[in-house]
Symmetry: D2
Subunit: 425 residues, 4 copies
């Protein structure tokens, strides 16, 4: 996973810092925090940081809440200081006055988090800390504000330019693969054997983003099937007895699962980059690939149908496709964006709605969330920028004529449950 | 230097983005900047970022100054927005109001720099950009203020926890070694043969910090000699015909050269961490090592002696040592810290002044700056925290009794040049 | 130095040679063989070698037998040529006459095998070929003679100095780990979860030997448990709910499973080296380790007891231990070496019999082969050479006094089944 | 799969065996040899092997000669044993009788060399030992016979399938690069700067073969220039101020230097494979490459001209080309093969003579050996097998019509020095 020098130094540092932890430290958490933020050098700082992270790991939820509340209330900005620093800067803009202003608007807790991160391995611990904060801080505006400080720093640390794309294969280390099994959130991986089927055949690929300081933790990964034509059902794609296609005979790369791995990185978006880079990688490796497309769930379809009182339980395949196309094209949030979160993601990336399929996901989950329907979003690379622009500025959805036709047909019907007739054919 | 996957993806990305650059872009630099900062997705952003960096590389100094002035004046904070966002936050602290406040206090140019950094390889380009800014912005308060934004982001990106310590040896890649030759700034490396003598013998070590996104660029490096006793002269240490010591017979690790490599990272301090980690690494590898010490220049000694009108041209070895000890202990800046920058660095790290040597650096540079004197700073690991604390809070310098004795002796003398007598023996 | 280069060149070669295979070759197998052995350059040789290996892979057992018979009869030495070359050499020993002699005594099939091995990846194919030969050639003296040529070449190719010891851990690639699961032949690994339990805990280790040309195929591997005391039962060692020991608190390294992976390398012994190198590695990593010991099966115990008409079905623990000690110490082959193959292996390596345990392997296999008994062989490093010497020259078995006592006690008893009394307490 | 494991185990083994060497061993060299060959296990063997290699390293030439004479006379085959083993095998061919025969024809010194090679790092030492033997054994038929045993084993160990092709670049480790500088034997590399010019430009490549057990020692390397057209002069190719070509604009790969690095591997041919594999690699990387050609010295040209009393000192460019073509086509050894060793090598590989150039190597060496002439051998991949075949069977040289024309023209002239006229135009 990494080179000798790196490993040796990391091994060393862990030992070194672990040794320091053996000596108990009588200071309270607040004293440690204050020592770390106030430290003028690294000397005492690293030790304090180390103790803070160690104690945090051992806290229960209540203690964690207290810790977050301390950060939120006692390490916040001081509005009066901000105001006077701002005035001084306005009066005489200079290195000194600007630096003083920058310092006044940054709460001490940001410096705290930054200093905690000086410990090797701390980034992972801080990502975990933010996951706790998101979970525990629900409904508490001050803790949600505190979360903005984590987010702000994470946006710098997890800058796209720092991420590394790595293929995940059957030759990857087992401790990475067991995380892929655990983190897969779209189509569950039931066993090592199941994972093997998704990695070993020549027409299967998997890629993940990693951050250099978390080499053992994938941030996000995507599973790809190389196919002849655009696939219309997940059970065909994952059939145990299917025959593999020779990679160089494939014409289509189908992204059939994208999973975020780190709840603590919520709101730090990688998926867009991942899809585009993987598409570009595959296009280079396999020049015969012409089509880059997803096979995606429609997670909110049945919920929406129910909320709209639309009958669908007895709908046939064509009816389901009509309803799905209609939902994707026309069901909107108050802000005018699509109701469906997966649609928002891919359309926001510049993809277009290419096709919908009935009986495409026969798993209990698929039946429950979308009556078995799935959708292909197409990444037509030359048009991605333009699609994105239209969607971002005018909230306009690009779709194939077939999808537009299905949506138009649906609009002509009266779909309400109160009607005696089911949806038309 | 790195693993297959990383290399492949980097190779790919470079090709991908290079291809994009082939298409000319008619937009002006300001339009590109505005497109990048305003981009709602990555789609158009990456291309704009790429063009901005490419054009920047081709600019002359005058154009660069115009570019920096644009950032400084047109992408600055808006004080009125800050004030109203602050009031809104005070009135109702919440995720939204805090986020709005954070956004108001961060000038758009920070977001610009962050987005530029999404391009692979951009970090190095941005470090170079800051080196330009530091050079061109001297004396211009607004450009110095702009530099604070680079510094702020670099402090996050080059967080200690992200750095990787790597041994530099004769087995390191030649393209790294030629940079070591180029960047050595204390005792010049005259040739590959000279470098070989500093790397190959069993009693020599070299270590550098690297950042994961700049794998070919050392940030700082230190050269170490393993010796029996504390060394007293650089010419002995680097003698061409010396006999190497078996590493496991060494009792002392002497840090005889530390060089910062990147002018664009001025003010982002790594030296402290480097020394301590290297000391700890060596202590693990060679348990017989007992003493960690520097052999350091005294860069401002003769300047100070001249400014104080102290006669030293005809001083003998003992007199030179007396003067050097006195200077290091007693020559202070207005803020009470030592005048000598190397002393400030090591004392600030928690080292103590251990010994001074005359005729220790007979090179023209050594003669000119310190009349040939050098100094050992001792890193006594168990006392480093305490030394640091005293220095940081009380500006108190820790020194050996010998050094204190020399300083005391010097104080009793009248050293002024106006005196007819030279310094006493 | 870089695996990248290696990988790329290997990838390339495979493509290059695969391409060549696409063109069908009308020559018969014998013609191809003759072309390969007769080739004066590599040009046509590589292509012939490639076709031979490809055709071999597609053969059924009957065709393989024909292939081996061709090698055995048509590519054998010519006794008359040997005699005349020998005489010429005796008459005038020189480079030429000796070379002619060497050439006469080496059958063409050795050159054939050597030339086949010029294809990348061929070593693995040839190891597989020999596995076929050993299987198909049973009872056929000429095919067994042919096997000696494979063995002769493999002894050079798999020379100890060419083998690489690698730790196998949960960070090893999955395609290696699945082979560990498949090849474990002592205590079956039931699942990935079971494997995880043998690799992840801090008190577990696994090491394998690899050959540089077969990087994905372990040759032999050993599983090690770090323990406080010498372990007396495999079920305790592998208990699912046991608590792991901190590695640096361990005093004993227990080798509890050694598996040969390649039937085609039968008779090319690696186990001796493996144990000693692993012991030395562990001693370096964990200086507190004092005892290196196996926990080994006694595969032929019950067979021997039955053949000797000794009653053991109702024996208690002490009786079983007595019988086991007696068997290990006193049951011999006609050549005077111990009957037990595992004993022959470890005693031949210089180990001594340290202790025997009843109820130590309660698995069906353990019950069947040794009535649940197991044995510890102790590798007392300072005495290993001397033990080995005694065993190799005088067939003398070194054992602890306890084992010798048990054996002596057994000899005093009449153990035959014809006796009305069971073995004594 | 990971170099870490490999490195660690190697480091370990070196320490382990080095430790053993600290204990002096009173046995004589002959006793050690006898102990090693007679060892029934590895236990005492490794230690004896280690001591033998260590003592050998410290021997002077006289002692080495004595060592080789011992191997040659006391560890030779026993003709009577060979005869009786042969008879036994003829009478009853079986595994046992064949094994006994194989054992009788293999002198003990082969087993000695094989066992010496069990020590890590021994391969390199044995290659060095053979270099000594070749040097010291000149003119001694028995020592030349002994060399055949080394050669026999090296042919197995350095089997083509075990070699690894690695690109050599400016990113290669310095300790490898300094060997490239030292081993270059065709066009001297004068300095690191000179090496840099041969590696860094985008139109330069270098590749070497390595053996897995000698990772720091290139066996043979080739330097390649990517050019538009077939190059006609080495000074143009290596000009300091030349402008580099973009690699993808090159149409020709010119192999302008091939150097064997290990005198101890004389007669173990790698050059053929190297050229073909590099050609294939480059063809894959740069599909626009159409021509694979050498720019080669003509080392024996002037010697031959002198021996034939042909006037050439005042010859003009065309005359020189005529003489060079004539020499390459028509100057033969008694066995009918070309006199020129470089010609024998490339023609034997299946290359053809493409063109000759005057004033192509203006260095003192080039002037002295070939009056400045050089030659291009063309590797026309589709015709290589056929060219090789013709050359190997009929000693027929393939050449361009231009070369054949020049040779024909030369034959019509009377070239002897006794003539009053110089060679014709």
């Amino acid at each position: 996973m990494t080179i000798l020098g790196d490993l040796l130094s990391t091994i060393f540092e862990r030992r070194y810092l672990t040794a320091a932890l053996d000596k108990p430290d009588a200071r309270s958490m607040e004293e440690l925090i204050s020592a770390l933020v106030g430290a003028t050098g690294e000397v005492s700082g690293l030790s304090a940081a180390n103790h803070i992270l160690k104690r945090y790991r051992e806290m229960n939820d209540e203690e964690k809440l207290a810790f977050f509340r301390h950060l939120s209330s006692d390490m916040n900005i001081d509005p009066d200081k901000v105001r006077s620093a701002l005035e001084a800067y306005e009066a005489d803009p200079s290195k000194q006055s600007y630096r003083a202003f920058m310092s006044s608007v940054e709460p001490d807790r940001q410096e705290l988090i930054r200093r905690l991160n000086q410990i090797p391995g701390a980034t992972e611990a801080l990502v975990q800390m933010r996951a706790d904060l998101l979970r525990l801080g629900r409904g508490d505006p001050r803790l949600q504000a505190l979360d903005q400080d984590f987010r702000h720093l994470f946006l710098s640390w997890f800058n796209r330019g720092f991420l590394v794309l790595r293929p995940i294969s059957w030759e990857s280390p087992a401790h990475i693969l067991e995380k892929i099994i655990a983190y897969e959130s779209v189509h569950e991986i039931a066993s090592w054997e199941d994972l093997r089927r998704r990695l070993v055949p020549g027409d299967r690929r998997c890629f993940a983003f990693f951050h250099p300081t978390m080499p053992d933790e994938p941030l996000i990964f995507v599973e790809v099937a190389l196919t002849s034509a655009v696939p219309g059902s997940i059970q065909d794609l994952l059939a145990e007895d299917r025959e593999a296609l020779a990679a160089d005979e494939a014409r289509t790369a189908a992204f059939y699962s994208i999973s975020n791995c780190q709840p603590g990185l919520a709101g730090i978006s990688f998926g867009n980059s991942l899809i585009k880079q993987v598409a570009a990688d595959l296009a280079t490796e396999l020049p015969a690939l012409k089509t880059f497309v997803t096979l995606s769930p429609i997670p909110e379809l049945t919920n929406w149908l129910k909320s709209e009182d639309i009958l669908f339980e007895d709908a046939d395949a064509k009816q389901i496709r009509t309803l799905a196309a209609h939902y994707l094209m026309s069901a909107k949030r108050p802000d005018g964006l699509p109701l469906d979160p997966v649609a928002r993601f891919h359309l926001g990336n510049g993809a277009m709605i290419h096709a919908v399929h009935a009986e495409a996901d026969l798993s209990p989950k698929g039946q429950a969330q979308s009556a078995g329907a799935m959708v292909n979003y197409l990444y037509d690379l030359p048009k991605v920028a333009q699609n994105h622009e239209r969607f971002a500025t005018a909230k306009e959805i690009t779709a194939s004529s077939e999808i537009r036709g299905l949506d138009a047909a649906a609009k002509k019907l009266d779909l309400r449950r109160s009607e005696s007739e089911p949806v038309a054919n």
